[in-house]
């Protein structure tokens, strides 16, 4: 058997230089490949929030909203309020008071939306009943999505 070409190795070198370099190359290649593949594969996984909340947003479970009650939800970066009337109807409005941008709340005793800042009051159509607000509250479209009994309230812009 013919001996292979000797690789210039310094006499007494304790390691195989060529092998080390190949190993280094392999490590480098794999680590860069991982540094690229990992973010890309994570990117492909759909995020929990679904899609950009421009036109619509989730507003919680329908079952968690008893009649004559309301709760605040997030619509983009502005608050919204979803109300279930005493009759069971679900409505949603922008919770930003049209007077000075305070967040409105629901008053079950009068069945009206009320702003604590300056006593602005709106009816359940979003219209101003009394107080300083100059315009009605923006009303949103409400849909229920999901299995019966476990529906999610989906609010979209009109």
């Amino acid at each position: 058997m013919i001996a292979p070409d000797p690789i210039p190795v310094r006499a007494g070198a304790a390691f195989d230089r060529r092998g080390f370099l190949d190993a280094l190359l392999a490590v480098g290649f794999v680590s860069t490949a991982v540094a690229i593949a990992y973010p890309v594969s994570q990117f492909l996984i759909p995020p929990a929030s679904g899609e950009p909340a421009t036109a619509s947003a989730g507003a919680g479970k329908a079952a968690a909203l008893p009649p004559n009650s309301a709760h605040i939800f997030k619509f983009g970066s502005r608050p919204g309020i979803v109300v279930r009337t005493a009759e069971g109807d679900v409505r949603a409005f922008s919770a930003v008071c049209t007077h000075l941008d305070c967040t409105v709340q629901y008053k079950p005793d009068t069945a009206q939306l009320w702003c604590a800042c300056h006593n602005g009051t709106y009816d359940l159509g979003g219209n101003v009943v009394s107080g300083p607000p100059p315009r009605a509250l923006e009303q949103f479209v409400v849909n229920l999505r999901g299995d019966a009994g476990d529906e999610e309230i989906v609010v979209s812009r009109a």
Binding site: L24, L100, C102, H118
Partner: protein, 427 residues
């Protein structure tokens, strides 16, 4: 003269057949010779009423005619018979006579029900209680009467945007007299000082005027909202807070609980002015020279000054905190961190600030402090989130630095490998 006869002759025949109408407008409309003659007059004082009455006029549209207010004979073709006092002609009624002319119908509930069932019928009675009514009764004939504001002819409904008493036009209508120094000469305030004529100029600077004319908010107040319509009188001592409070209820309630309610008979007006009600700012509060509080409060031992300063400090601190937090969140958002929860929270903090500014009208720092504290807590949590957002950005950067290290490692290894290959190929 012959002109008049020529114009009136054909009508005389028609009028002979038709009955003159008084307060029965639902039957066939009467002939109105008054208009025909007056419209052709060269003197505008005679022609203008005819022109106006022939245009948009609420009375004409419901079948009323000149004679219903002025009396006389509408069927007559010549002036003498048309202006016959025996037929009830009273000319152009002025002063009390004018009030009586309008009130003849407008204070008659049975009559008004047939035309405008919801309309009130107590305007004349209210007018008698007003400053205008009292001055008229005292003999001053140049005060406002019905026609001064509503116009004598070409009267439009109040809800008609061209009516002089439509909300956006009221201030200008009142100002036709009240802004005229010559007209107002001789009238004085209760204390004896001459009646000012700067109300309109002041009002146009106010937030109420801006809301009414630019904000399209017809519920914003103009002269009659605070002074009354027909019973026009400035709100008296002790009544100002109630008047402002009809809209600004929360502030009035808080004010009534405060120490100032006992002292200030002019209530809200003391600090905010009556006509030139400007947009309020935190600069009005405090013991500094330019602040409104400093008008009465000054000195280190003045409890009021200390309270004002305390509250001012709290407001400026929370406002600055909100702004700073907002800027941090904005920077972090721009760099790509999700911050919608924090934006919502900052809205809540701003709501707290608004609530605190309302509470301030009780003039008690101890009541304002807890609201401010809630706002400050929110700002602190948003700041924390912002800082962790900035930390996340730094973390991303360090992650990328590690990837960079991996790439450079590979580059070095590849370079060395190349050198090795090339050295080998030289053999």
């Amino acid at each position: 003269m012959s002109q008049i006869i020529r114009h009136c002759l054909p009508l005389i025949a028609a009028m002979a057949l038709l009955a003159p109408v008084r307060a029965r407008a639902q039957t066939a409309p009467a002939a109105n010779a008054c208009l025909t003659c007056h419209a052709t007059q060269a003197d505008t004082r005679l022609a203008t009423p005819a022109r106006l009455f022939s245009g948009t006029d609420v009375h004409r549209e419901r079948g009323f005619a000149c004679a219903d207010c002025h009396g006389g004979d509408p069927a007559a073709g010549d002036k003498a018979r048309a202006h016959d006092a025996a037929k009830g002609f009273k000319g152009a009624p002025k002063g009390q006579a004018q009030i009586a002319t309008c009130a003849r119908c407008h204070s008659d509930a049975d009559l008004m029900r047939r035309f405008a069932p919801k309309q009130r019928v107590d305007q004349a009675a209210e007018y008698a209680t007003s400053v205008h009514g009292k001055q008229l009764a005292a003999g001053h004939g140049d005060v406002a009467t019905c026609a001064s504001c509503h116009g004598p002819h070409g009267i439009r409904l109040v809800r008609d945007a061209k009516s002089p008493v439509f909300p956006t036009n009221v201030a200008a209508t009142c100002a036709t007299c009240h802004a005229d120094p010559r007209h107002m000469a001789g009238y004085t305030l209760p204390g004896g000082a001459p009646l000012p004529t700067s109300q309109l100029a002041d009002y146009t600077k106010s937030v109420h005027y801006a809301a009414l004319t630019k904000g399209n908010d017809l519920s914003a107040p103009t002269c009659n909202d605070c002074h009354g319509n027909h019973g026009a009188t400035p709100p008296g001592v002790g009544a100002v807070a109630n008047v402002c409070g009809t809209c600004h209820a929360v502030f009035a309630t808080k004010f009534q609980t405060s120490v100032h309610a006992q002292i200030f008979d002019k209530a809200c007006v003391e600090c905010h002015g009556n006509h030139a009600v400007l947009k309020p700012s935190d600069a009005m509060l405090g013991a500094a020279g330019h602040a409104v509080c400093a008008t009465c409060h000054s000195g280190a031992d003045d409890k009021g000054a200390m309270a004002a300063d305390a509250m001012h400090g709290q407001f400026t601190q929370l406002e600055a905190g909100i702004k700073r937090s907002g800027a941090l969140i904005g920077r972090v958002k721009n760099a790509g961190i999700e911050v919608s929860d924090q934006e919502l929270a900052l809205r809540e903090a701003a709501t707290k600030l608004t609530l605190a500014r309302t509470e301030m009208h009780a003039f008690d720092p101890a009541r304002v402090a807890p609201i401010i504290a809630e706002g400050t807590k929110i700002v602190a949590s948003v700041d924390a989130a912002g800082q962790s957002g900035a930390a996340e950005l730094r973390f991303r950067r360090s992650g990328l630095a590690i990837s960079l290290g991996a790439i450079l490692l590979f580059v070095v290894a590849l370079g060395l490998k190349l050198r090795q290959i090339e050295r080998r190929s030289h053999h």
